[in-house]
């Protein structure tokens, strides 16, 4: 098995990928990129030869940092079951940190939820980790991500500055998508990462 190298600038984003969560996901991706890190998630590869779990474990192995949003824990009204993907990926990340090589043990994670202390009702074993609430507000998610990454060292732009830049980015996003003949709702993660990257390089 090939050795996995932990990349000190890579941030694994573990969150729901549905439309209702997209505003928070996009804000987190923007903040991570703006702060000089690389956003990674399971959506970045479309390789039929890779099973989803292989893909996720490889990306988790390569990322020094992880942002895990456990806010989507409600029962699906149709099947009366919650979604377990986010807690599973959080467990994989914690497992790497706990049992991995010395570089894997240097991993650091931020857990996000909608409300403070809500996690105690459904995943109380994560107590003691860095858990913060974003209140389902993209701007608050930006502040949480910024403050957490700023605690890892380096002088980083402030949360208010990133919020302002993100607001400006959002005003230009429909026009950028139009120029690419894309619908902003249909942007893939890779497309979004590139548009964010090029916009930050061109306009921040």
């Amino acid at each position: 098995m090939a050795k996995t190298y932990v990349r000190s600038k890579d941030v694994f984003i573990n969150c729901p990928f549905d439309a209702s969560y997209k505003p928070i996901f996009n804000a987190i991706v923007f903040a991570v990129c703006e702060l000089g890190f690389r956003a990674r998630c399971a959506l970045e590869i479309d390789d039929a030869g890779d099973t989803r779990l292989d893909k996720i474990t490889r990306i988790i192995g390569e990322c020094k940092y992880g942002i895990h949003d456990i806010s989507a824990t409600e029962l699906n009204p149709a099947i009366h079951l919650p979604r377990f993907n986010m807690p599973l990926e959080l467990g994989l990340f914690l497992g790497c940190k706990r049992y991995g090589s010395p570089s894997q043990r240097s991993k650091s994670l931020l857990i996000l939820d909608r409300e403070p202390y809500r996690y105690r009702n459904f995943i109380s074993d994560v107590s003691g980790q860095d858990i913060h609430a974003h209140g389902a507000d993209p701007n608050r998610a930006i502040i949480e991500v910024r403050n957490w990454l700023a605690s890892k060292g380096g002088i980083l732009p402030g949360g208010a500055t990133i919020q302002k830049r993100y607001a400006r980015f959002l005003t230009m996003l429909p026009a950028m998508c139009q120029a690419l003949a894309l619908d902003s709702d249909d942007l893939t993660f890779t497309d979004l990462s590139w548009v964010v990257n090029r916009w930050l390089i061109s306009a921040r």
Partner: protein, 100 residues
């Protein structure tokens, strides 16, 4: 931490130095002169200099007191150029000028 982005781009005659969000630009005979002038603007303030190729695509970026932007997941060169052009065209679109 407000910052500025300066683009060194090909112009009709020589090279233009253009600040993102601004509608006007300054022209230089060589690309080097334009880069040097951009650096003077960033001696104390945070910002970045985006250096374009003669064909308009981004060749290099200098970061001054700002975190270096990491490269995103790999895509084809063709698609990367397409995104480059689309984003640059909107950044310099007068509708999004910072003065308006």
């Amino acid at each position: 931490m407000p910052s500025s982005t300066y683009h060194v781009m090909p112009a009709k005659k020589g090279w233009a130095l253009r600040k993102a969000g601004a509608t006007d630009s300054k022209t230089f005979t060589t690309q080097r002169e334009a880069i040097e002038d951009a650096r003077k603007h960033l001696t104390s303030a945070p910002g970045q200099i985006v250096i374009h190729n003669a064909d308009g695509n981004i060749r290099d970026v200098e970061f001054h007191k700002l975190p270096k932007i990491q490269s995103p997941p790999r895509i084809s060169r063709f698609k990367a150029r397409k995104i480059d052009r689309a984003v640059t065209s909107i950044v310099f679109d007068p509708r999004f000028s910072l003065s308006t």
